[in-house]
């Protein structure tokens, strides 16, 4: 039984993204442990890719820093295996289709199951292309996470209907919007989503404050802080975990009221 859903058992979930090996694997491990101690319910662990085309500059740079430090897919699996000795919070990988394809989907996903990774997010794998990876994911009980955006419109029903694990709701991009406009658009999207699925939904937005995160969280089951921890790592390097702990604590408190 995939334990991803348990991430949403403790009130609104706080999801934290970290790029594996930025600036080094020891710091990533410390950041994950601190985030979990301070209330992170789900960790998204980025396997660095040379050309993360769907990301902004913050995550692009983190990816390149990690690669420069010699992080490879094999080292990431070793890293998670070791981490799993004490870290039990649900974890998903975020990477690009080529990283999985090149490693071999079968080999990649069987390794995910072996080391205890519960889900996989591939930003460049839309609904239309998922079949090739989905069958392998199912064989190894790794949830292939689906995404809807504020411009998905009539695509939402088919995506939501087949979504597994949790639904990633991207509230950034697709045009410039104020926070209020994004919030209103999100409300519409969530209304449609709820007609087609009851799996947990986590919202990714460039939150300006824990209060704002709380407003968005109210519409869903959790919030994804996709670049905040990465920013702290870029700024503080190996001293970042303490700041990440504070950040996650205030986020979790913010969305729990």
């Amino acid at each position: 039984m995939n334990k991803l859903k348990t991430a949403f058992d403790h009130g609104k979930a706080a999801v934290t993204f970290l790029t594996c090996g930025d600036p080094d694997l020891d710091t990533t491990a410390a950041a994950i442990r601190t985030a979990v101690e301070n209330g992170a319910d789900l960790i998204e662990l980025g396997i660095p890719f040379s050309d993360p085309t769907a990301e902004g500059a913050v995550i692009q740079e983190a990816s390149l820093r990690a690669l420069k430090n010699g992080v490879t897919t094999d080292r990431v699996f070793d890293f998670v295996r070791e981490l799993r000795e004490d870290v039990t919070v649900p974890m998903v990988f975020v990477t690009y289709a080529n990283v999985v394809y090149s490693y071999g989907a079968e080999r990649f996903l069987s390794s995910c199951r072996d080391v205890g990774v519960d889900g996989l997010i591939l930003p460049d794998l839309p609904y239309e292309e998922k079949e090739e990876f989905l069958s392998v994911c199912r064989r190894y009980d790794v949830a292939l996470i689906s995404t809807v955006t504020l411009v998905s419109a009539k695509r939402i029903p088919m995506i939501a209907k087949e979504a597994e694990g949790f639904l990633y709701v991207l509230a950034n991009g697709g045009g410039s919007r104020t926070a209020d406009e994004a919030h209103a658009a999100l409300g519409q999207v969530m209304k449609t989503v709820r007609e087609y699925t009851d799996i947990p939904c986590a919202v990714d937005f460039a939150y300006a404050s824990p209060e704002q995160a709380a407003r968005f969280a109210a519409l869903a089951d959790g919030v994804i802080a996709s670049s905040d921890a990465v920013k702290l790592l870029a700024e503080h390097g190996s001293a970042a975990p303490a700041y990440i702990g504070d950040y996650v604590r205030s986020l979790k408190n913010g969305i729990s009221v």
């Binding site: 890719f49 085309t53 769907a54 990283v99 394809y101 609904y127 239309e128 995404t147 411009v151 695509r155």
Partner: protein
């Protein structure tokens, strides 16, 4: 050649973020409508003939033929098109399509700058806003084209991420499209990226082989034995190949940029050195490391300096219909100078890769055989760089 999901054999597809799916679907729908619309086709043909100087000449390179002493060599003069390269064919098609779709803004990536210049040109002609993304490294290599784009009213955004070349310009343009879909069309410059781009760009470039076929039949009364073209993403090559794919007797030869050689890391010869992967919206061959990290490729030619190849080429290679041969910097520069001195034609350094292979191939063939080389662009833009390559510093 395409099936419904934009597949060419196992290649192609639509590996783009969810946020772009409606945009590519909208484009596909519009294209499927307009490609069969006689009015659209009539307007495009008028633009080709009255604005872009089509049909382009099929020129018998007599001196080159005699000098090499083998097959008869014809040059398809895409360098004589308005803006100096084949890129205009695709851009006029896409700009017209974008306009019909109600878009007011074109964005584009560019390597050598030819596609950027063509996009800026079409935008000026059709009264659209234009933003061109260009690797910072390439803005230095191709400073003249940067100025031409600005002169035509476009904004040029130097891309500093990654290797600061064509691949990064593509990534940045895709990202920009993600941020602004409503009024913006991404005018992709090659037969790559997510479906429907490889098909759309192929169809607009296929005018090249359509003309070659008519022209060679008129001149020689028969089809050529080989058609040669340089391949980066592969748009001029697929354009030159397309109407010959069913003609099994015509060898189709794509000339890849080997850079300093395919046994070195400084190469961009994707089919020769790459593996199947998924990147920039498509499944195809890519230069990559054992973990699927995209390789920082190299070629003297900014237009061929790309780690992937269009999915239809990947398929033509898989089924053995087309051959892909490596051509080094040295060979291309020699051919650049050779064509200038022999025929009085300065080819783009990209096209010089195809000329270089023709120099090797022609002497191995009989005098009754025919080679057509697609001269995809003119070489004015490359003169300063080639001078530097030869140790001479000239000021543009």
């Amino acid at each position: 050649m395409t099936n419904e999901n934009g597949r060419f054999g196992i290649h192609g597809g639509q590996y783009v973020p969810e946020i772009l799916m409606n945009a590519v679907n909208e484009l596909e729908e519009a294209y499927n409508h307009y490609k069969n619309d006689p009015e659209f086709q009539r307007e495009l043909t008028t633009l080709f003939n009255e604005y872009a100087n089509r049909p382009s000449l099929l020129y018998y390179a007599e001196k080159m033929t005699k000098d090499l002493g083998g097959a008869k060599i014809y040059l398809k003069r895409e360098d004589l098109n308005h803006t100096g390269a084949h890129k205009i064919n695709n851009v006029l098609g896409q700009a017209l399509l974008a306009k019909k779709m109600g878009k007011t803004r074109l964005i584009a990536e560019t390597g050598a700058g030819q596609h950027g210049v063509a996009s800026a040109t079409a935008a000026a002609l059709m009264g659209m806003e234009c933003v061109v993304f260009m690797g910072e490294e390439d803005t230095i290599r191709q400073a003249l084209n940067v100025y031409r784009m600005r002169l035509l009213g476009a904004t040029v955004v130097p891309v500093k991420s990654g290797t600061a070349t064509l691949k990064d310009a593509v990534s940045e343009a895709m990202n920009e499209w993600t941020n602004r879909i409503e009024d913006t069309h991404y005018c992709l410059g090659s037969v790559m990226g997510p479906h429907p781009f490889p098909t759309i760009v192929r169809d607009f470039q296929a005018v090249i082989s359509k003309e070659i076929k008519e022209q060679i039949l008129a001149k020689e009364g028969r089809l050529p034995d080989a058609v040669l073209a340089c391949v980066g993403g592969g748009s001029n090559a697929i354009g030159a190949f397309y109407h010959f794919i069913e003609d099994e007797g015509v060898r189709l030869i794509g000339c890849e940029a080997a850079g300093r050689g395919i046994d070195t890391f400084e190469t961009a010869a994707t089919v020769n050195t790459g593996r199947v992967g998924i990147f920039h919206g498509m499944k195809s061959y890519f230069c990559q490391d054992e973990y699927g990290q995209i390789a920082p490729v190299y070629s003297i030619s900014a237009g061929l300096d790309y780690p992937g190849v269009g999915p239809e080429h990947a398929h033509l290679y898989d089924i053995g219909r087309a051959e892909y041969v490596p051509v080094t910097d040295d060979e291309a520069v020699d051919a650049f100078e050779y064509l200038a001195k022999t025929e009085g034609i300065i080819p783009a350094i990209e096209s010089a890769h195809a000329v270089a292979y023709a120099k090797k191939l022609a002497p191995t063939m009989g005098k009754d055989q025919i080679i057509v080389v697609n001269l995809s662009g003119r070489g004015d833009k490359d003169c300063a760089a080639i001078a530097r390559y030869r140790g001479e510093d000239i000021h543009e």
